[in-house]
């Protein structure tokens, strides 16, 4: 075994000791003593404001959902992968979609060139979804779609798919990400201007509440903003601010907060600072419950609860010495469980530079199973609750998160902050700052800027390379569906969709479902909506 040598770069020689400052900039006391933590009421898990968790019985009543992200190439290939994962004991499916589907282009569109099936499956119309879920009982599985700009369309397709198989949509369980606000800030698959997008989101949520009451119609996500440069405080603050913007729009669309708030859920990263992450989620639960109760007058505890899923890994993983990432994901999984996450996705150790192999994907799932069944951290609810440090840090994070939320509010709320590009600018500036800290070694990452092996050059990055034949097959199937469908029915459905888009009193969803039944394509539906609503003009502020 070769000894680890530190790099000769003097910049990377920076801090060797333990920094007193957390990644969010909280200066942690050397030790927290009882007198530094205000005596709080003896709160129990399941009690308002849910600092200690939303379920009184923690994970004993129900374990978290172990969900792995997959889906690439054609619907047939993804279907085979799903069958494999279900046999392996996975309890939920996760569908990744290619960029043309996410941005609203059909596979024949010039903008789709060279992107078909690349980062996920191509789902241009109902016939592709029928292949994707062939042999899988939609009433028995929980499916999570990572989709935003076209989320309402893909959700409509899922409902249509179930209806065509004679399955009552009320039995469907799963999630669509459907969080358009963070797309403008961090992920980039926006299509329409912010305000009509908010209507589309609200309509899908209200429709889902009625039609698929067990389905989560939105997952308000901080993860991508974290990846784009936010620290833990900002991740939680901006996500909660976006959440409040959805609540306001849902109320404007006639929704009842006591009802729709029960189906709002959130999605975050868990990074490496275990205690800061746990404190972030404890504070998040407390803030959300308090705002729902006092600002919106919500009284049903279920509508005050902050439910969330997490990803362990993401940008905390690095390409140099990739096996170290297994350790990182394990620590983050422990943090996620101690935070009381409702679902956990664990990244494969090689995801920082390639498409996970079957082996690396299996280690990621096994990590969760080991934490669940061997480590014991799930045994007692909120096992860190009452720790002087954790309680102190929870209060500190709460205060800082609220301060960041107040800034957004002072600007005029999340919608305005995003329309103007203000939030995007803040996140980009923070990303620049973080990159400088990594360059200088002030933010240590083992194997990357400290203890880097000299003989290892930059990780062998691998990118999605899809068989060109597969993308040709997608186009052929598309053409075949176009030839087979009832063109008059498609055009009638699209006309009705266009009329509904122009009428703010209408809910768009039933018209989208009708379009999907007629095998109208994502590109066609988006074109109709664009004709009415226009396209987002990206504000450039740096």
């Amino acid at each position: 075994m070769t000894a680890l040598k530190q790099t000769q770069d003097p910049d990377a020689e920076a801090p060797r000791g333990i920094s007193p400052v957390t990644p969010s900039g909280v200066e942690a006391p050397l030790v927290v003593t009882a007198d530094m933590v205000p005596q709080c009421a003896p709160e129990r898990p399941g009690d308002y404001p849910f600092t200690r968790g939303i379920f009184p019985d923690g994970f004993r009543g129900r374990a978290w959902t172990m969900r792995q992200y997959s889906g690439f190439g054609t619907a047939e290939e993804s279907n085979a992968r799903y069958q494999f994962l279900l046999r392996e004991g996975q309890t939920g499916l996760s569908v990744a979609l290619d960029l043309p589907t996410q941005c609203g282009y059909d596979p024949t569109d010039p903008m789709a060139r060279s992107e078909i099936g690349k980062v996920g499956v191509s789902l241009s119309n109902l016939s592709e979804m029928e292949i994707l879920f062939d042999g899988i009982d939609l009433s028995k599985i929980s499916t999570s779609f990572t989709i935003n700009g076209t989320a309402a369309l893909i959700y409509a397709m899922y409902v249509a798919c179930a209806e065509r198989r004679g399955i009552d949509p009320a039995l469907l369980t799963g999630t669509i990400q459907n969080d358009i606000l963070k797309e403008y800030v961090a992920r980039g698959t926006w299509i329409f201007p912010v305000r009509p997008s908010m209507r589309l989101t609200a309509d899908s949520i209200l429709y889902a509440n009625r039609t698929t009451p067990r389905f989560n119609p939105i997952s308000i996500a901080g993860a991508h903003m974290r990846d784009a440069g936010c620290n833990a405080v900002e991740e939680m603050a901006y996500t909660l601010a976006n959440g409040l913007a959805y609540v306001d729009e849902l109320l404007r669309r006639g929704g009842n907060a006591e009802k729709f708030a029960k189906r709002l859920s959130f999605f975050f990263y868990v990074h490496m600072d275990l205690f800061e992450e746990v404190a972030k989620f404890r504070a998040g639960r407390r803030i959300w419950a308090e705002i729902m109760k006092t600002r919106y007058g919500v009284t049903d505890p279920k509508a005050q609860m902050f439910r969330f899923g997490v990803v362990c890994g993401g940008s905390s993983l690095v390409a140099p010495q990739p096996q170290n990432n297994i350790v990182r994901v394990a620590i983050e999984t422990v943090a996620a469980v101690l935070s009381g996450a409702q679902s956990i996705f664990t990244c494969a150790y090689d995801e920082a530079f390639q498409i996970p192999t079957e082996t690396s994907a299996e280690i990621a799932l096994r990590t969760q199973q080991i934490v669940a069944l061997e480590s014991g951290v799930a045994r007692s609810v909120d096992a860190l609750g009452g720790s002087h440090y954790v309680e102190w840090l929870t209060d500190e994070m709460e205060q800082r998160i609220r301060a960041r939320m107040d800034e957004v509010e002072a600007y005029g709320g999340a919608v305005k902050a995003i329309e103007d590009g203000w939030l995007q600018m803040r996140v980009a500036q923070r990303a620049h700052e973080r990159k400088r800290q990594i360059d200088s070694g002030a933010f240590p990452v083992v194997g990357l800027n400290v203890f880097r092996k000299e003989d290892e050059d930059r990780g062998a990055v691998e990118v999605f390379r899809i068989d060109p034949k597969a993308s040709r097959r997608v186009v052929e199937k598309y053409d075949a569906t176009m030839a087979r469908r009832d063109a008059a029915a498609v055009s009638r459905a699209l006309d009705r969709l266009g009329a509904a888009a122009a009428d703010d009193r209408e809910n768009i969803m039933p018209y989208l479902v009708e379009c999907c039944h007629a095998y109208a394509t994502v590109g066609e539906m988006v074109a109709r909506l664009k004709a009415c609503w226009g396209e987002f003009q990206e504000p450039i502020r740096l």
Partner: protein, 147 residues
């Protein structure tokens, strides 16, 4: 310690007076790298124009000419760099702007670097490179300077 935003000041004058276009071709929505580079180039004295997402190679070439830039940086993380870089370089040629140096950053596998350099790219950058090193390479590769 406060957690207020402070853009770390590493001001240099390496790129003073230079105009640089940072562009996002294709559908890929990951713009954090492009924005971080844009801010770093600005810190180094350059005037930076950022296109925003989902721009066609033809659009990027026209902006490069209209804005009379000294360099174009293409940011690509979707794996479509071969097609998008070739198209962008062809579009610049069509605008009679082949002399503008092109840099590429993003998720670029090591084995693809030579191919991009053969297409005429001055240098290829990945996320693990230090910003100061990127700026130094851009400065060296600018028009009129030997690389």
């Amino acid at each position: 310690m406060s957690d207020t935003l402070e853009t770390p000041a590493v001001p240099t004058t390496l790129l003073k007076g230079k105009r640089i276009l940072v562009a996002k071709p294709g559908l890929d929505g990951h713009d954090v790298g492009a924005k971080v580079i844009a801010l770093a180039l600005r810190d180094a004295g350059a005037e930076v124009i950022y296109t925003g997402l989902r721009k066609s190679p033809g659009f990027i070439a026209r902006v490069a000419v209209d804005e009379d830039v000294d360099a174009v940086g293409l940011s690509i993380l979707s794996g479509s760099h071969k097609e998008l870089v070739a198209d962008s370089i062809a579009a610049l040629a069509q605008e009679g702007a082949s002399a503008i140096p092109v840099f590429v950053g993003g998720t670029i596998p090591a084995e693809d670097v030579a191919m991009l350099l053969d297409l005429g790219v001055k240098a290829v950058f990945t996320a693990d490179m230090k910003l100061d090193d990127v700026i130094a390479e851009v400065a060296a590769g600018l028009r009129g300077q030997p690389t």
